[in-house]
Symmetry: C2
Subunit: 167 residues, 2 copies
């Protein structure tokens, strides 16, 4: 299945193929599952829920748009649209940033906070059922390691940790 070092591409071994398919299968099933669960129970897709969680954990339940986009790993454009929608739903409000007139703070409203509190148990339970209740402690530990390694390798350039002249 693998090409000997003839300069051609290194294909995946049989085991790697199995793992890759299992990965795609499991991650898409889980993402779909959580999207449906949250759409049903909180009226929004998973990513939007994640934005509210970020805000809820931020100092005054607010974050600069760029900061929020960075945390959630989405583009500023996408965030603009998303916050517009969340604003229309009443869960987020925009405020001008006092120190930078270009800036906007996305602020979690009280309603948004309440909504989060109501739907958090169901969401945690869905995550638990899908992942943590099915894995051994050892598997959970290893999964953490693996995901850290992968994330590190995919980190977009420009992170401090990746600038050689800062090492």
């Amino acid at each position: 299945m693998t090409t000997a070092s003839t300069g051609g591409p290194r294909w995946l071994t049989d085991e790697e193929q199995r793992v890759w398919r299992a990965y795609l299968h499991a991650t898409t099933l889980l993402e779909d599952h959580l999207d449906r669960q949250l759409q049903r129970d909180a009226g929004m897709p998973h990513i939007y829920y994640g934005l509210l969680v970020q805000l809820a954990q931020a100092p005054r339940r607010q974050l600069r748009m760029t900061e929020l986009a960075k945390n959630a790993k989405i583009t500023r454009s996408r965030l603009s649209h998303a916050v517009a929608r969340l604003e229309k739903s009443g869960w987020v409000r925009r405020e001008d940033c006092p120190s930078d007139k270009r800036g906007q703070n996305a602020v979690l409203t009280q309603e948004g906070y309440e909504m989060l509190r109501r739907s958090a148990p169901g969401h945690v339970s869905a995550v638990r059922q899908a992942m943590f209740d099915r894995l051994t402690p050892e598997q959970v530990r290893t999964l953490g390691e693996i995901m850290q390694v992968m994330a590190a390798g995919l980190q977009p350039e420009g992170t401090d940790a990746d600038l050689p002249w800062l090492r």
Copy 2:
């Protein structure tokens, strides 16, 4: 951090939270990365590429729509749109199913096959760099196990394996 058994929701432990965030972080980074790579090199998102791969591996490079949707874990609706787009690009063609007049076969065209052959090495290499080249063999093995367990737990009902009267 965890609620003692008071009947309240079982929150995630600190470690579980770390693992969950790492999981979300890594999986979104990887999906974004592959989407960009394939959009650039093959002119389509990752999921569309997956459809072509399925077709390429099918008996006569063709599959019934429903079958293809099931394999790719997407709705029939989404597949209809996707195939319409792939048809416009010339990589797939629809054919009426001879045995069932409701049915349609999605057929990989020769152009589609060529395109796949051209872009496969780059795609495999991207997957490799992001995942397999960074993990130890032991980690790859464990990742496979974990993903299988998770997928099994999320399997939509109605799969043969889940029908108790067939066991």
